[in-house]
């Protein structure tokens, strides 16, 4: 079993990825992003990203209903279905699902953010949260019948609302359930970079132990990403390939070790 995470950047070579996946002799599942498409659509629709600042001074994106609508349009809609179409054209019998479908990715909604509004303290709650479990039975049912699940956000919360979540965290929850031998993450970069601004600083190999050291050296989003990668090793032994999604053969290149291999 392989979990394939496809980044949502504009320069990701989806066709090359699907061509490579069609050659695999192992079952796999796909989870994909669509952030470039989402941003483009938001711009065209005039929907602005809402950012709120908590009392503690921490700024974060506020996922209101319109943000979830946008996610359904871009991730679960256009990107998911065009990717499924591409899979079908290459002989992969894909079934595209968002986390709501059959409750395939279940999460817990964030409790809310403390803000000060018109001089008063209040808590506002958006539609975002953390994935907690997957519907393993549904995924295995599909795989057993030779369907390839192609997953996207939004996911479903404990009260059956659609919520936004990070794909890195979803991969970790998928791995807890599926215990894949390989996890391939295809991004807009040659792999894990020692210096994020220097594309020649590719780190070819990392141990889980080194991952912890790196985690202590970085900040913000990268720290969260590294933490999510470390979680992948908690459920069972696996190999994580972080590799360039922009090449002619992204999956072949990843498995051949052209990016970063973590084990």
């Amino acid at each position: 079993m392989i979990i394939v995470k496809i980044g949502g950047g504009a320069t990701i070579n989806l066709k090359g990825i699907v061509q490579d996946l069609a050659e695999l002799n192992e079952p796999f599942i796909i989870i994909h992003g669509a952030n470039a498409l989402r941003d483009e659509l938001a711009r065209k629709l005039g929907i602005e990203k809402k950012v709120i600042t908590s009392i503690s001074g921490y700024a974060s994106v506020f996922s209101d209903e319109a943000a979830i609508d946008l996610q359904m349009l871009a991730y679960a809609g256009l990107r998911n279905k065009r990717l499924v179409e591409l899979c079908q054209q290459h002989g992969i019998n894909a079934v595209g699902l968002c986390g709501l479908d059959g409750k395939v990715i279940q999460g817990r909604r964030n409790q809310g953010i403390r803000i000060i509004e018109k001089g008063k303290r209040r808590i506002i709650r958006d539609f975002s949260g953390k994935p907690k479990s997957v519907n393993k039975e549904l995924l295995e049912l599909l795989l057993a019948h030779h369907y390839i699940p192609v997953l996207a956000v939004p996911i479903i919360d404990e009260e059956n609302f659609a919520i936004n979540s990070e794909n890195d965290d979803i991969v970790a929850v998928l791995q807890q359930a599926l215990r894949a031998e390989k996890i391939i993450q295809l991004i807009e970069s040659p792999g894990f970079l020692a210096d994020k601004d220097d594309p020649t600083s590719l780190v070819k190999n990392l141990s889980v132990h080194e991952l912890i050291t790196r985690e202590e050296q970085v900040e913000g989003r990268m720290k969260r990403k590294l933490l999510a990668i470390r979680k992948l090793f908690e459920a069972s032994q696996t190999t994580v390939f972080i590799s360039d999604g922009r090449t002619a053969h992204p999956v072949q290149d990843a498995l051949a070790g052209k990016g970063t291999i973590i084990q």
Copy 2:
């Protein structure tokens, strides 16, 4: 088994429909439209409907790539996933699929339209076609495991391209495969009207024989719709309920005979 077709009009009471469906004691599948949502999105995105005129003088909508993108955004994306969310909130374990997913609705692409362009005759082909078959195994697999399929366009053609198709025709193909005892069609009208411009002209009961007579009396889109309804009776005995999707309890009302019953 019940097939429930939900119209894509702006005034359809989706919540009322889902509340009613949650009370049913029979398995069912849903197929839904999203035309009002699609038109609204097209307007916001500045995408204009392309209409072309054939040599024979017949005008038709041309489904180019942008039209299919729009369908994936509105039908398979936003409407499908919000409807799945609503189902989950009412205890219905829905799985939203478009026709591409697991090739669940397969069709044949239209051959093209003869036009004259710059004085020359040529054939242009769009992404539209007729549904021909369904992946009955996938639908039955989901139903057997208590998942409710929630279907939407686009469907998949013989070369694995996404194509547009009429929901009326898809219902007919579904019925050939599933032989449902009841087919409920929820629309923005009290039911089948003797005079389409007079909402008080509701026809309460129709026999299949009367359907043929009516078919001969009408034109255009309505003729196509009646033909599609007549096809529903070809596979097996069934009862078709055409009823108002705007009431507080659209499904209850339909089954209680408040709209049109055809048998």
